[in-house]
């Protein structure tokens, strides 16, 4: 710590820049597909029929109940080779993050909808609205507002979790931190730098979400 070497950080700056772009890319892909898939799975979990609900329940059990670390390894070295001889670690990482986030988002979605008082659906139906109309005009607008804070939380987790893709050599931020550590046998310079960059990313996102929440409240 006495001889903190700024010069090697400067030397690695272009790699960190590339890495952070991939980190942002992975996170955005994870947020996008995780949300779409999460909505679908959340809907699946709310179906009355238990048999139809079962696979959705187990999807969520599996992805919430096992480490993302293990999921990434399984997907990159187990699942992806079925489709392609040379799996791209960035693609494997993006898929793992999306599938994992979808499980959490499905729960957020379901909890948001079920938190709306039953009387709202009953009032809507008693006015002759179909189930779909009641969902669209009455339930979802109220549920989405309640879903914003936990969704924001999940997106922040996703940015941090994308660092696990380093383990399959996806060239995101953490990967370059480890590369630098390996080259110079230094600890503080690479990992503090990486930590700081993650902090900037997550703080920016939570600022953004706060603004969105306030806008929704007004």
């Amino acid at each position: 710590m006495m001889d903190f070497r700024f010069n090697i950080i400067v030397e690695y700056a272009p790699f960190f820049l590339k890495g952070v772009l991939w980190t942002i890319g992975l996170s955005l892909v994870g947020i996008f597909f995780g949300t779409i898939l999460g909505l679908a799975i959340g809907l699946g979990k709310m179906v009355q029929n238990r048999l139809i609900r079962l696979p959705f329940d187990w999807y969520v059990h599996f992805f919430r109940g096992t480490p993302l670390f293990v999921q990434i390894l399984l997907i990159h070295f187990g699942v992806m080779p079925i489709f392609t001889a040379q799996p791209n670690p960035l693609v494997s990482g993006a898929i793992s993050l999306s599938l994992n986030a979808a499980a959490y988002i499905a729960e957020i979605f379901r909890a948001g909808i079920q938190s709306i008082d039953r009387g709202q659906m009953e009032a809507a139906r008693s006015l002759g609205m179909t189930h779909v109309q009641a969902m669209r005009y009455i339930i979802l607008p109220q549920a989405i507002k309640r879903m914003i804070p936990p969704l924001g939380n999940e997106f922040i987790v996703l940015i941090k979790d994308s660092s696990l893709a380093a383990i399959i050599a996806a060239p995101e931020l953490m990967y370059w931190g480890r590369a630098m550590q390996g080259q110079y046998y230094r600890v503080w310079e690479p990992y503090l730098t990486v930590a700081l960059i993650y902090l900037v990313l997550t703080l920016s996102l939570s600022k953004l979400l706060h603004r969105l929440e306030r806008r929704y409240d007004a």
């Binding site: 709202q120 009953e122 009032a123 008693s126 006015l127």
Partner: protein, 240 residues
């Protein structure tokens, strides 16, 4: 208008309705009274199928509710419902609460729906509240808006489930006044209530329910002044 035959309904192993027979005529005001847990709400909610029933038949305005060909949404268009806890839509203004269903379900134009809504708000004495959100209303105002919202669909029947039970005492009168006016205009109404004064004054017929059956029915005079059954007498002695 509504014909109920041998209506039975259980929640799990608990039989809540044990065979209800009643015929509600057009323009009639039927008041349902009875102790807590006797099945009054369940009965009312079966009439617009918010609650599915197990046995028997209900015919509303010619629609057999158990007939798979019956479009329940069509039935519900004709049957307005007012809830104990108002159930206004909190994310919409009072005006939008009222115009939503006529526009989306009846496919009215915005102008037509708005005109109707303003008429109804005038009728319940709340024109000035059109553009506020429900959370700024008092309980009595909220319930009057809820009544206006149901009326906007121009239903043939109105169901009320203890519409004044969640209100502070000083607000009960304003809601009952709106309901009285509605009765006077010839609306067919089924009202579950603990307001015996209202039952006596406005009701054409009173049903006393206990333990999932209609124990006794008759005109308000018959029920209140000369109850025949022991259970009716003991219930009335507690509430009057």
């Amino acid at each position: 208008m509504i014909q109920v035959t041998n209506l039975k309904k259980s929640f799990g192993s608990l039989q809540v309705l044990k065979g209800i027979d009643v015929h509600i005529h057009e323009k009639e005001v039927v008041v349902v009274i009875g102790p807590s847990g006797s099945g009054k709400s369940t009965f009312l909610r079966c009439l617009n199928l918010l609650e599915d029933f197990d046995e028997g038949d209900i015919v509303v305005d010619g629609f057999h509710l158990k007939d798979p060909k019956t479009d329940l949404n069509k039935v519900r268009e004709e049957v307005g419902m007012v809830f104990q806890r108002f159930n206004l839509f909190p994310h919409m203004t009072v005006l939008n609460n009222i115009t939503l269903a006529p526009m989306k379900v009846r496919k009215w134009s915005k102008e037509k729906a708005t005109e109707k809504a303003m008429q109804l708000l005038a009728k319940v004495g709340l024109q000035d509240k059109a553009h506020v959100y429900p959370d700024s209303l008092s309980g009595g105002q909220a319930q009057r808006v809820a009544i206006a919202r149901a009326l906007a669909m121009e239903p043939k029947v109105m169901l009320f489930d203890e519409p004044t039970s969640a209100l502070d005492p000083e607000m009960v009168g304003e809601v009952l006044a709106v309901m009285k006016q509605l009765a006077k205009e010839g609306m067919t109404m089924v009202v579950v209530t603990h307001e015996m004064g209202f039952a006596r004054e406005v009701g054409d017929r009173v049903l006393f329910m206990d333990g999932g059956v209609i124990v006794e029915e008759g005109t308000p005079q018959q029920i209140f002044d000369a109850p025949q059954h022991e259970r009716t007498k003991s219930f009335l002695s507690k509430v009057l």
